[in-house]
Subunit: 373 residues, 2 copies
């Protein structure tokens, strides 16, 4: 185990009776899978909520006994790290609609005793955040020191600001947007179509039978292209051929093809196809301001913001972060923006650890010091 | 019919015995579907060869009796247009490996009496051009006034320059590259995986049974995203909802989703899935210079070049065209480059008719006048 790891961790489960969704439907009962790292201080003022992206989960740091890989943001969470577990109490929960312990389409529908499948209601980013608020209440936390996340995680951060502005001191939306552009919707939709065109999908009723693995794998491959950049692919693969000669015509022969296929095929072992549909749909439906002007949404917010984006990220390009910055300025919200130079594309929010650590540590210290006064 | 149309046209077929491919395999016999517009002059010096892109065909201009849509580049070919059929003899042929009349995987393999399917040999851009050279020879043309095409058409243009530099006076590669980047390979590969993961694909042996329509439709949807730009999608669709309310969960609800689905579903009516595999593979394999330096490939070329790219084209970005320009300069080749401002993305080569017409007309006049001297 890495020296600055939070060590062995376990996923915990918080159950509650009912969640009223944006659609007015009621989800009940609800389970939220979550993990915590570090210790909540006496006045419960050191809590940080981490928000995961599309295919992430509550296991953000440390190691599980039966797995050899650490949590998905282990590089950022631990003793001495950006989210220093010697100072902060760090929480990460799996979104509802997910498939990593929180209630989702693969859960049992208590009304029927069978898996939800497509009888699971459409959920929104606001619904995810609403469920998280219940968890935070349960943990007795009145005010979060910060809420932070990249990509879909950033959307949840923005939603926290809009839904519960009084319950957080600061917010760090990374590589995100207040609403999907049609190009972003298009990439989501092609992924969904890949899943739904797999005959094994069977309108979502595949549990207990063969799963729509081929369709989900293709969806993940599309996703992976959008997470990288032209440059990072050129640096990582160039036009190199795979070492093994392909046996069949049209078997992957370039390294980049083999990589994508591998990533697609390993993804389907850990992710539920219906969750992929529900969560990507929540991304597309997300529209923080809706009919309002964005700066109206931010009006009166006293939390400080640190907004980060990455130069080569073409999936959530910097102009979308700059829209947030502009609205903050118009609304008089204290916002700092940094576009980090990176060739990693959208994946940069997981990889540019040094830059992010530097900026976030400094930001959190400032938030704390101003709050103490 | 539009006033400046070449009018009603018919596809012609040129048959020959054998084509030796880059793979050393022999394709025999070979049929090339082609169309011509305008009249070949006495000294056969006014011939222009048009090269089509991935899913194009020989029907570049005018109308077929049984179809209501004109050829794919009708806006550029006709009386008074960029490729003025009152002056020039314009030829366009379907690539081998295609499915619009030229020999391809859906043709009958004379050895077995059955459809080729995957027994069709792997073909390269050079093979396509080799077949076209036979057609040009058959038409008695020694020197083409120009060879022109966008995207994959541009690759064929570049290959003509490399393979038959003495047989053309000029060349116009548009929105193209000398080799696919790993990102371009990745997009091709995901399309192929979408096709091949459709159980109806059956290793390419689907003729006479149900076709892999769902997989091919997903592949086309992916393609369409890459042909447009973030801006052009925003301008065309925004986040507008479809007029009809979706009946099923996850049915397309945004306009952009409906558009992509429609384009995918109509594409499969006109294109063969195996051709999609073979042709995209030829794109990925294309590497004009290979082990050589690019300027070495261009050394000694006396043809004039007009190289065009488009500002918002992120599939074949301008930097790839600039590599061609640079190599031409190093090799002492007479090359003019223009990056056309456009928000249409890669589709711009089909849509920016006014700019292209202006540049190409002027260029062709210059080529003619210098040749006449």
């Amino acid at each position: 185990m890495e020296k600055n790891s939070v060590g062995l961790v376990e996923t915990k489960y918080f159950n509650f009776d009912e969640l009223v969704l944006d659609s007015k439907e009621k989800l009940k009962p609800v389970t939220i899978a979550y993990e915590t790292y570090g210790t909540l201080n006496k006045d419960k003022s050191n809590a940080i909520l981490i928000e995961h992206a599309l295919t992430g989960d509550s296991h953000a740091a440390g190691e599980h006994e039966d797995e050899d890989k650490p949590g998905w943001w282990d590089s950022m969470i631990g003793p001495g790290k950006a989210f220093d577990t010697e100072k902060y109490f760090v929480i990460c929960s799996n979104v509802i609609g997910g498939c990593k312990g929180s209630t989702g389409p693969a859960s049992i529908n208590p009304k029927t005793g069978k898996t939800y499948g497509l009888s699971f209601p459409i959920i929104t980013i606001a619904d995810m955040v609403r469920a998280q608020k219940k968890l935070i209440d349960f943990l007795g936390i009145k005010k979060l020191l910060t809420v932070v996340g990249g990509s879909m995680g950033g959307m949840q951060v923005l939603q926290w600001l809009a839904s519960y502005p009084g319950n957080l001191l600061s917010a760090i939306p990374i590589a995100t947007t207040v609403k999907h552009s049609p190009q972003q919707i298009a990439f989501s939709e092609v992924g969904r179509q890949a899943v739904m065109s797999d005959p094994d999908w069977r309108n979502g009723n595949y549990y207990g039978a063969s799963f729509p693995l081929r369709g989900l794998s293709v969806a993940r491959m599309i996703g992976h292209i959008t997470y990288m950049s032209d440059i990072s692919m050129a640096e990582k693969f160039g036009r190199r051929s795979k070492e093994e000669k392909p046996v069949f015509k049209f078997e992957p022969s370039f390294e980049v093809e083999g990589y994508l296929k591998y990533r697609g095929d390993s993804f389907v072992k850990r992710f539920d196809a219906n969750s992929y549909l529900y969560i990507t749909k929540s991304l597309d439906l997300f529209d923080l301001a809706g009919e309002k002007k964005l700066h109206q949404v931010f009006a009166g917010i006293r939390a400080k913001l640190l907004i980060l984006s990455f130069k080569s990220d073409w999936l959530y390009p910097s102009y979308q972060s700059k829209e947030i910055v502009k609205a903050c300025k118009l609304a008089g919200v204290d916002a700092t923006y940094c576009e980090i130079f990176s060739t990693y594309g959208h994946d940069a929010f997981l990889l540019e650890v040094e830059e992010e650590t530097h900026l976030i540590k400094h930001f959190l210290e400032k938030v704390e010091s101003e709050y103490d006064r």
